[in-house]
Subunit: 297 residues, 2 copies
C-alpha cells in the first residue's frame, strides 16, 4: 500500500534542502535574497516538484538527477505567486498564512525578488543540463524551452492576463477552461512532462503522463475554486470568499458547488485511467491525483 | 576605413526583423504581446545585440547563428527597463521619447510584459541551443547559465536593488563602480562574452574580449551619467537632470563633469588596448568603444 504522506514528506524534505542550497549560494545574504527565501520558504505543497520527481521515478529516472528541475519549477511557481499578489494585480495581503512579499518587504523588492526567482530557475536548469552526459543535453535544452514556453506569453502569463481581464464578466465554461489551462494547467503539465522527458520516457509514456497531467491540472483548479467557497481560512492560510467579492469566474460560480465537485471527481478518474498502463510504480501519481480533491476535507 | 553607421544600421535591421518575428509568433496578438512589442520596438540602440554579433564575427562566428542570442539579450534588456520604470521603482513616465509601458498600458500589464520578455529570452536561447550540432550544445547550456547569472540576483537585479537603496546617500567610488558593474556591466560583459563563446572563441580571445567589455560597460555608465546632466532631453527621448533630483549617486556628482569625462576617456582607451591583439576584423568593436562616449555630442 503506497503511503502518500511519507512520500510527500520525504520528497519535500529533499526539495526544501536543495531550494535552500540554491538560495544561499549568494553570500552574504542581501535584502533581495532574504525576500526570495522568505517567499520560497513560506510553505506550500511543493506540488510541482513532487509531480516532476514522481513522473521521473515512474519512467526509471533518478531523483537526484531531476532535483534541479524540480527546484526550478518551484522557483517559477513562487515568482508567479509573488507577482500575482502585487497591488497592481490581485492585491493580496496574505499567502500561506503569512504577509505577502510586498507587505513583508516592499513593492520594488517583491517585483525584483520575483524576477530573480524566475531568472534563477533558468540558471539552475541550464547549469544542470551542462553537467549532464552529452547525450542528455539535447533533452535538457528541449525541456528548458518547453518550460519557458509554458511559463511565458503563450502560457502562464497570458493566463494571468485573462484572469484579470475577465473579472466581473461572466464567461462560458470553455473560456474558463482555457484560462485555467494557461494560468495553472500548462505549468502542472510541464512539471510531469519535464521529469519524464529528461529521464528518457518513451513517446507512449509521455503521452499517457500528459493526459494524466492535463486532468489533474484542471482538477486542481476546480478544487481550488471549491476551497475558496467552503475552505477553512485558518487551514488554507489565506482568505476565502475572495473570488466572489472580486467577481472572478470560477467553476463554483459557473456550475454550483455540487457541479464543481462532480467535475473534479470526473477529472481525477480520467487522470487515473491514463495511468492504467503503468504498474505499481505509478502509485505515487495515483495517490497525488486523489489528494488533489481530497485535500479540502 | 570601418563605417560604424552602416554597420549599426545593418545589424539593427537584421535584429529588429528577428525580434519582430519572435514577438509575432503568437497569433492572434493579445494585449500582452502588444505591450511586449510596444516596449521592444520603442527604439533603443540595440547595443547588446550589436556587441554580441560583433564579438561573434571577430572570432569567426556566423551572424545568423548568434541572432537568437542577440535577440534574447535585447529582450532581457527591455524587460529590465520596463520593470525599472514602474511606479514602485524609478517611476519614469517616459522612455525613448514615448510613454513607458505602464503609462501606455497599465501597471499589471507592464509587470507581466516584463516577465514575459524575460521568459521568452530563455525560450529562444534553449530552442536555438537545441537546434545546434550536438558538439555545440554544451557551449549553449553554459552560455544560458551565464546569461541567467548575469541577469539574476548575483547580477543585474542586485544592481537595481542597490541603485534604489543608495538614493540620497553618498557612496564612495568603489561602491558606485560595483553597483554599476552589477546593474549594467555584467549584461554588457555577457553580451560580448556570449557571442564569442557560442562561436568557439579561444580562452585567450575570451579573456581579451572580457577586458574590452568590462571597460566599455563602465564607460557606458559614466557617459550616461554625463548625459543625464548635459544631454538634450529631446534627442535622448527622456528627461535629464533626474539623477540629481533623486539624489542618485553618479560619476558626474562624484567626480564632477570633467572628472567623469576623463574617466570615460580612460576606460575607452583601456577597452581599445584590450583589442590590440586583434586585426582589422575587430574594427567594429573599436568603433563601438569610441561611439560609447561620443554619442553625447
Amino acid at each position: 500500500m503506497f503511503d502518500l504522506k511519507t512520500y510527500l514528506k520525504d520528497v519535500r524534505t529533499t526539495v526544501d534542502e536543495q531550494l535552500n542550497h540554491y538560495l544561499h549560494a549568494q553570500q552574504p545574504a542581501t535584502r533581495l535574497s532574504h525576500a526570495m527565501t522568505y517567499s520560497v520558504m513560506a510553505g506550500g505543497k511543493r506540488l510541482r516538484p513532487v509531480l516532476c520527481i514522481a513522473a521521473a521515478e515512474i519512467v526509471g529516472g533518478r531523483r537526484d538527477a531531476v532535483l534541479p528541475l524540480a527546484c526550478a519549477l518551484e522557483f517559477i511557481h513562487t515568482y508567479s505567486l509573488i507577482h500575482d499578489d502585487l497591488p497592481a494585480m490581485d492585491n493580496d495581503d496574505k499567502r500561506r498564512g503569512k504577509p505577502t512579499c510586498h507587505v513583508q518587504f516592499d513593492e520594488a523588492t517583491a517585483i525584483l525578488a520575483g524576477d530573480a526567482l524566475l531568472t534563477l530557475a533558468f540558471e539552475i536548469l541550464a547549469e544542470a543540463g551542462s553537467r549532464c552526459a552529452s547525450d542528455d543535453q539535447h533533452r535538457w535544452l528541449l525541456t528548458i524551452a518547453k518550460i519557458a514556453s509554458a511559463a511565458g506569453f503563450k502560457g502562464m502569463i497570458e493566463g494571468q492576463m485573462r484572469d484579470m481581464a475577465f473579472e466581473g464578466t461572466v464567461i462560458p465554461q470553455g473560456e474558463l477552461e482555457s484560462l485555467h489551462r494557461l494560468k495553472t494547467g500548462k505549468m502542472i503539465e510541464i512539471s510531469v512532462a519535464s521529469g519524464a522527458l529528461v529521464s528518457g520516457a518513451s513517446a507512449r509514456q509521455q503521452q499517457l503522463l500528459h493526459s494524466y497531467a492535463q486532468n489533474i491540472g484542471l482538477a486542481f483548479q476546480v478544487a481550488d475554486d471549491i476551497l475558496n467557497v467552503q475552505g477553512d481560512p485558518e487551514r488554507l492560510g489565506k482568505a476565502t470568499g475572495t473570488d466572489q467579492t472580486r467577481g472572478k469566474n470560477t467553476y463554483a460560480s459557473l456550475l454550483g458547488l455540487s457541479g464543481a465537485e462532480a467535475l473534479a471527481g470526473q477529472l481525477v478518474n480520467n487522470a487515473l485511467k491514463a495511468l492504467d498502463a503503468f504498474d505499481h510504480g505509478a502509485d505515487s501519481l495515483r495517490a497525488i491525483a486523489r489528494y488533489v480533491i481530497e485535500r479540502k476535507r
